[in-house]
Amino acid sequence: MLLFVTRRILFALALLLAVSFFTYMLFAMLPADPAALTCGKNCKPEIIEANRVRLGYDKPLLEQYWLFIKGFFVGRDYGVGAAAFSCPAPSLGYSFSQHECVTTLIARTFPVTFYLSLGAFILWMTLGIGLGTIAALKRGRWQDRAATTFSAVGVSLPTFYIGLLVLFSFCIWLRILPFPSYESPFEDPLSFLTTMILPWTTLAVLSAAGYTRLTRNGMLEAMNEDFVRLGIAKGLRRRTIIRKYVLRSALVPIVTIAGLDFAALLGGAIITESVFSLPGMGRMSIRAVVESDLPVLVGTTMTAAVFIVLANVVVDVLYGVLDPRVRSK
């Protein structure tokens, strides 16, 4: 098991290196000129050129990539003369449009994204597994139809549409929630909750659909297993059987997928964060796209990749913990 985990982590590191390389190359191929961004709207070509040389954007791509990687480990210097400054390691570069080191920006926006993802995750798992269980237990009856229909409606509409509908409904028509205005949960827990409840719901409604289905199908499959019949024949209570026999075996694949989905969210729920004005990493990255802010784009992409890869490792290990059949292999 230890060997397995070590191997998995080593592979993850290699994977991250590959991702960083592809990301860097992909974005470097974009027509946007990162040097032009360093000097604003009314910039003279000679200044752009000077900044290009200073930031190393004149060098071959591979060398630029090397500077990026090096910067991550030893930090990187920017600016000139008396106005020089540096982004210390682990440096992902400097954003000239936000006047901050990318690492600092990510450190600031990531918690928001994390809270958003975590809350949504808990909510959608509860919702999805709950609805899926009901649907499976009441298979073919109205509860089943209602649960699957609800989840289908949730997944059918684009995020921005659901998000805005939810926002309008609760903040304008019903007026039971204030307009979202993000506050850290440690500073103003109440405001945090009232702000986050809608984005959580939006994301949860979107993702719950898949989990409702997975749970429903997984449970129905499990119900057909002989071991469930044996459980009944043993004289076990219905609740025990559902919990220990049916849900348990339906949950194993769900947990693994959930881990990956959660990680994907950590890369930034772009639309949700925009609709609800949450200062998270997703909104920052979409802004970076619009402004062709390459360092931020590479930084957020890499951060997202780290979490996805990390989740892969965790999921693999978790799979082993959850399923004895995998463990002993």
Partner: protein, 341 residues
């Protein structure tokens, strides 16, 4: 064998509402089971034998199935008792062993946990150590080598035969009075089959429980059962002791079955025969005797076979009962000739 039955099934009918229509899976089935008796229920797939067995534990889908008749277990009707009572019957009075040991065990828990679970349900006051001791004892009893180590292993670490032994251990840990074994050996290798059957008989001798053995294999019945029910199309078509069914089968379907048995005494029956045609659809059973489309003798009795459902009646000259319109004499003579199909 005592004279008062342990379990008395009368007029059991089970039907299922399926999207394809109503399936009459079990029709008017009655039989008694005595302590220490081994009753074999034989039939093709879809004959209703397994549904009959699961009705005894109320394992049929409660939403889609309808069950009528009565299943008397010591004055209680299994079909109508409340759920808690039913739970106490399950595992304690009546236990069950399934066909496929590979899928009958929960892959996420150790075998020890699964055996223990069966015990704890009915012995809620037992201490942890008691339970473990009891589980180990059971493991030994069903012939698991090195039980102290294997008690904490997971099902996938066991072979098929070993798993079936564990399923039997689960079934027998509460010393039930009735064990229903639904095709317990079908999924196993031939050599393992015999071991498992021997094990069941050994344990029966030890505990005096009654066994209902569901099988499509007359060879198995011949080896372990005392008496036999032959089912076809949801009905019992013949009831006989094991010796009689092999000596003088009294229903054309039984003749077919015996013709299809390749083992037992290969010297006398040199070749395999099969019954022509296919088992009937339970949704639209043939009218009259449901076996008539496949029966070589149906023409002999005029139109009765196609219009009238034959009653299960005692065949004079034997102790068997048969549901066939042919005369008893014909049945006895044809059956005795062994010249079946």
């Amino acid at each position: 064998m005592s004279n008062s039955p342990l379990l008395s099934v009368s007029n059991l009918c089970v039907s299922f509402n399926t999207p394809d229509g109503v399936v009459q899976a079990v029709n008017d089935v009655s039989f008694d089971l005595f302590p220490g008796q081994t009753l074999g229920i034989v039939g093709e797939s879809g004959s209703g034998k397994s549904v009959t067995a699961s009705s005894l534990l109320r394992l049929n889908n409660s939403v889609t199935s309808t069950t009528t008749g009565s299943v008397q277990l010591e004055g209680r009707d299994v079909l109508t008792v409340d759920e808690p009572t039913m739970r106490s019957i399950r595992g304690q009075d009546i236990a069950m062993v399934f066909q496929d040991p590979l899928s009958a065990l929960n892959p996420y828990y150790t075998v020890g946990d699964q055996i223990a679970e069966a015990y704890i349900i009915h012995h809620s006051s037992a201490t942890k150590d008691d339970v473990r001791a009891r589980v180990l004892e059971m493991l030994k009893k069903v012939g698991i080598p090195n039980p102290e180590k294997r008690i904490d292993e997971y099902p996938h670490q066991f072979s098929g035969g070993m798993r079936q032994r564990i399923v039997i251990a689960i079934a027998l840990i509460n010393s039930p009075r009735i064990l229903i074994a639904d095709e317990p050996t079908t999924a196993l290798d031939v050599t393992v089959q015999a071991q498992i059957l021997d094990l069941m008989l050994d344990l029966q001798r030890e505990t005096g429980m009654a066994i209902i053995l569901i099988t499509h294999d007359l060879g198995v019945v011949a080896e372990v059962a005392d008496s036999t029910l032959v089912m076809y199309g949801g009905r019992i078509v013949e009831r006989a002791t094991v010796s009689e069914i092999f000596a003088t089968p009294t229903h054309p379907y039984s003749w077919g079955l015996l013709g299809a048995v390749g083992s037992l005494d290969t010297s006398t029956r040199g070749h395999l025969t099969t019954i022509p045609g296919t088992p009937p659809s339970l949704i639209s059973l043939p009218t009259g005797c449901s076996f008539h489309p496949r029966c070589a003798y149906a023409k002999d009795t005029g139109s009765r076979c196609t219009t009238e459902v034959p009653e299960l009646h005692k065949v004079s000259g034997t102790s068997s009962s048969s549901a066939c319109h042919m005369s008893d004499a014909q049945l006895v003579s044809l059956g005795a000739r062994g010249d079946t199909l």
